[in-house]
């Protein structure tokens, strides 16, 4: 360390000093909860602490030298105790992330914590979703080597973070990618674009199970290909995993497999994106007994549209890691100015269709039931869809300017949602396919229509009013819900918002509640203060096939974020 510091000082004496760049950020969330007899009559969700608060800070230093560059960073986290809805495993405080990275001679070395992804992530991705409380960062060594442009190698070794400790499994992986247009001069200007890659990841976890001879080393490999020509592009990735009995798959010894293929087409003012996915027994964690959001080694992206409006997002979809067949088609059109749909100032139109189904499963033999622990579980064929619909979503969104100062967006949603599998406010979900195949009513399908109208009115320079009117209509789950949001902003510093969600259609009359929420924020550009006060609805957060229910609460909350 001393040597490093003194060499930095030597550099500093050159005529144009280069001290590198230092960046950091900070966030604090604190909530004071109120007992609310209407929302939570038995008080089971009310925290003993009454006040819950958590925060973190990141610091990153980067400096470019004549020989390359060096980066160092760390993060401090503190949970006293985690706010409602956050994974309860995050209790305590400490430095949870620190690393040192340097790049020279086409070699990129990281020691400490890092996040990495191979291809689309089917066999390896570590990442963090801070809002959800997911962080499976690696702690170890990463090497990236680029012998020539267009040829990329990566290698990783380490263990993964789980809360304030590390998982028991050792994670190892290598990845190679070739980009022909960068590699070959003769391809540099070609209209055809081609790249391909190979990756392999494995884990080691000691096994001494009294009943099963569990594999201690589990490997997974993937191959990918990307091809493009003008506005057309195709990306496909195929993965296989050897047998990996785990809590997720009920300790079956069947190998896993999966593939994701996307096709895109773009032209001026038009975009199309299609995706098809088939996943069979692809849960991959560095601890075979892990649950919730813990220790995922891979990422199986949902091929559904991610909704952010409050009411449609009550019915989110998460990839079913044990098996799923999914399709998505999405179209975007730019509506030209002076056209029938676009009006005087133009607009945009979006169409989306997505669905997800079970995969077909057959018994291994006459004596074995589907999914029986200690067996091969079941048989399936690639791309053979099963009989259970998990999810379907059709939506249309239309946005245009109605006048110089008024923009409007209207979005319609039609969602079919399998509550038995995915869970909801009235169904805890989590059933397996066999239960539903034996009794289809257990799927407890919810059929949902929803409409959102959003308007943005620029009242005068720097003053604007944004509003959302939302309606969600269903006979199932918690019934019809309406919502109104008004948000007044004074750029660049202030905003004030008031909203009410009214569950007027709940079958249970005592649950026909209002959920009012007041918020105000002050933003200096890099520092933001926000105060919220009111009721939060019960919601669902999902990541990689796992959903977590966030309980309803009444609280006063303060959030401070700052970046430099």
């Amino acid at each position: 360390m001393m040597a490093a510091a003194s060499s930095l000082k030597l550099q500093a004496q050159t005529p144009e000093p280069n001290y590198g760049s230092l960046h950091g950020n900070f966030q604090f969330d604190g909530y004071l909860y109120f007992k609310d007899d209407e929302l939570d009559p038995d008080g089971s969700d009310y925290p003993d602490e009454q006040f819950l608060g958590q925060g973190f800070a990141n610091l990153i230093y980067q400096r470019t030298q004549s020989w390359g560059e060096i980066t160092a960073g760390l993060r401090y986290e503190n949970y006293q105790n985690p706010i409602l809805g956050y994974p309860p495993g995050f209790v305590g405080e400490g430095i949870t992330y620190r690393f040192l990275q340097w790049k020279r001679d086409r070699l990129d070395i990281t020691v400490g914590n890092f996040y990495e992804q191979f291809g689309s992530g089917l066999v390896h991705r570590t990442y963090e979703e801070r809002l959800l409380g997911l962080d499976n960062a690696m702690d170890g060594i990463r090497l990236k080597y680029t012998p020539i442009d267009g040829l990329y190698f990566k290698g990783i070794l380490g263990r993964q973070r789980v809360y304030f400790t590390k998982g028991p499994g050792v994670v190892r992986g290598i990845d190679a990618e070739v980009n022909l247009n960068e590699l070959l001069d003769s391809w540099a200007e070609k209209k055809n674009r081609l790249n391909f890659g190979l990756s392999f990841t494995s884990k080691y976890q000691e096994a001494n199970d009294p009943f099963y001879n569990l594999p201690e080393n589990v490997g997974a490999g993937a191959a990918r290909l990307g091809y493009g020509f003008k506005g057309l592009s195709l990306n496909t990735e195929w993965a296989m995993k050897i047998n990996d009995p785990s809590a997720d798959n009920g300790y079956i010894f069947k190998p896993g497999g999966g593939s994701i293929t996307t096709v895109n087409y773009t032209a001026k003012g038009f975009g199309f994106s299609g995706a098809y996915k088939f996943i069979d027994n692809m849960s991959f964690r560095s601890d075979r007994n892990a649950g919730q959001f813990e220790l995922f080694m891979n990422y199986l992206p949902p091929t559904t549209k991610f909704h952010t409006y409050a009411l449609p997002s009550l019915y989110p979809y998460a990839t079913q890691i044990n098996g799923e067949s999914g399709l998505q088609l999405e179209f975007s059109f730019q509506l030209p100015k002076e056209s029938w749909l676009g009006g005087k100032r133009g607009g945009s139109l979006g169409l989306n269709y997505s669905d997800a189904h079970s995969i077909a499963k057959e018994p291994v033999d006459a004596e074995t039931s589907i999914g029986q622990s200690g067996t091969d579980g079941y048989q399936t064929q690639w791309f053979k869809q099963g009989d259970i619909r998990y999810f379907q979503d059709i939506n249309v969104s239309y946005a245009r300017s109605l006048s110089k100062n008024f923009k409007a967006t209207i979005t319609y949603f039609n969602i079919e949602y399998n509550q038995g599998i995915l869970g909801s406010a009235t169904n805890s979900g989590g059933l397996n396919d066999t239960v539903i195949l034996n009794d289809p009513s257990r799927a407890d399908m919810a059929y949902i229509n929803a409409v959102v109208f959003e308007g943005l009115w620029k009242i005068k320079p720097k003053h604007s009013l944004r509003f959302e009117v939302q309606g969600l209509f269903t006979e199932q789950d918690r019934g019809d819900i309406a919502m109104l949001l008004l948000e007044y902003s004074i750029a660049p510093n202030w905003f004030f918002a008031i909203q009410d969600i009214w569950n007027y259609g709940n079958a249970d009359e005592s649950r026909r509640l209002h959920y009012p929420l007041l918020s105000a924020g002050y933003n200096t550009g890099t520092t933001r203060f926000q105060l919220n006060m009111g009721r939060q609805q019960q919601g669902i957060f999902c990541v990689g096939g796992i959903c977590r229910v966030v309980p309803a609460s009444t609280s006063m909350g303060l959030t401070i974020t700052s970046t430099f």
Binding site: A72, G94, I95, Y115, E182, G271, L456, I490, T563
Partner: protein
């Protein structure tokens, strides 16, 4: 002294040295590798606007305020470019769920920005972007001279005033 504390000391050693010179005007876009929507790897060191101001906006296809900001700028982008030569670089932090849709989305919105994807979040972490949209303004020498988190209607006017100042060669207050 446990392992964590030793690490902390090492990193803080480097950082406190950097702090002596914090807020130096030579604060550039950190070096990371991002991808074009066509899949080509690009180093952020190669992203420049040849001596003219540049706006770097971190966004995602699912982020409504980001889309409002970039769509609003789109309406005036041709004028902005003609008057100041500014370039807008839109860097998406979409992950594998949506990264393949970034290209079609941008075309559907009719944006004529330079677009990259920071799929692994490397640049996002280096810039300490906590929430999006997060917009950076770089001067002609590639120094970050201003940044803003969040978007409210009217923020684009403030941004453009700063771009005009830069293009006239005036210094702006560093945040």
């Amino acid at each position: 002294m446990d392992q964590n504390q030793r690490w902390a000391l090492l990193v803080f050693g480097c950082l406190s040295f950097g702090l002596l010179q914090a807020q130096n005007p030579g604060d550039r876009l950190p070096q990371a590798t991002v991808k074009t929507p066509e899949g080509k790897q690009v180093s952020t060191a190669e992203i420049s606007n040849q001596g003219k101001p540049m706006v770097v906006s971190m966004w995602a296809t699912w982020c409504k305020p980001c889309i409002r900001e970039l769509s609003t700028i789109k309406d005036s982008y041709a004028d902005w470019q003609a008057e100041t030569g500014v370039k807008v670089v839109a860097i998406s932090i979409d992950d594998a769920r949506n990264s393949a849709k970034v290209g079609p989305f941008v075309q559907g919105e009719g944006w004529e920005y330079e677009v990259y994807i920071d799929e692994n979040g490397d640049l996002k972490r280096l810039l300490n972007v906590n929430t999006i949209p997060h917009t950076f303004l770089l001067d002609g020498n590639g120094n970050i001279v201003w940044q803003h988190n969040g978007y409210a209607s009217g923020d684009e006017d403030i941004l453009y005033e700063l771009i005009q100042k830069l293009s006239r060669g005036e210094a702006i207050e560093i945040h």
